[in-house]
Amino acid sequence: MAGTAVRGRLSDPGGRPPQAPLAAWQTATVSSVTAETASVRTILLNVPDWPGHRAGQHLDVRLTAEDGYQAERSYSIASAPGEPLAITVERLEDGEVSPYLTEELRAGDQMEVRGPIGGYFVWEPEMGGPLLLAAGGSGVVPLRAIVRCRIMVGSSVPVRLLYSSRSWADVIYSGELSRPTPGVEVIHTLTRSHPDGWTGYTRRVDAAMLAEVAFRAAEGALAYVCGPTNFVEAVAAGLVGLGYPAGRVKTERFGASGQ
């Protein structure tokens, strides 16, 4: 296909092509900031013209410094369709945007957002299940939206969430995920340290763990895998090794682990 040049900034003076509403930057006002772990915050956003979203989608955040410098990042949407818009953000030590979002941001502050984004890593009730969800670290965020959606619509699709964290203190949504929900199983693995008396998994997700936890391929499960790139590659390969068709394993990669 031939190369083309496209105007990609709303700030271009004049002559810009009409943009689809979804692609436009909108002003979001922070309603609240809630601590999930020492380094993770859930940020509730009020966006007056938010068109609604589907479970699993993300949005882009754009911050503009006083000197005009802009930084954009993508964050998964943490809330189910119909709930107030929320994102959950993990602070990255060398990050440019996440330290501000997790440490400086207060209710009433404003930022620009664009979205919702994504038509691939999305679950809708009519897609059915069973649902195998695999999360590495903050990869749990879009999967939490899927679980909440499944519960809110009264779906009976069986769900297993395999969630890998460094330690129990790093588990995001630990209270919510600990509440028993019929048909929803949460299986944790803690890869670096674990509380005394911990009887769960204590290693990285591997083929043997997937074989124990995952629905059998013959059950026709749909898998969503989200986390650091290495985690996603390992889990997706493991599931295909168990007989899951590649087309039934949806993946979203966050980049290098440790982020």
């Binding site: 979804l22 691939y120 990669r253 980049g255």
Partner: protein, 87 residues
């Protein structure tokens, strides 16, 4: 195949917003076919490398460069030459 940067490789989900701003609609669920090896994949499944210089999208099968995005003074230059089709 992907070399030392492998751990930081993203996927097409990461450029959903960029593509939406360019095409006016979601493209992550669109299907592209590689102009080098013919592999057909959804955009969300492609390998994405981002840097301050721009964004390079590669085929996961043959590593061929499918798309390049570079922004210069507010204009995004798009090279889709490596794609045989995108729909």
């Amino acid at each position: 195949m992907l070399g030392p940067l492998e751990g930081s490789v993203l996927d097409g989900n990461a450029i959903g917003g960029l593509l939406m701003s360019l095409f006016g609609t979601d493209m992550t669920a669109a299907t592209g076919s590689c102009g080098f090896c013919g592999t057909v994949a959804q955009v969300a499944e492609l390998a994405v490398y981002r840097s301050d210089l721009g964004t390079v999208v590669r085929c996961r099968t043959c590593d061929g460069v499918l798309m390049v995005f570079v922004e210069v003074r507010g204009v995004t230059c798009v090279d889709l030459e490596g794609l045989a089709s995108l729909s």
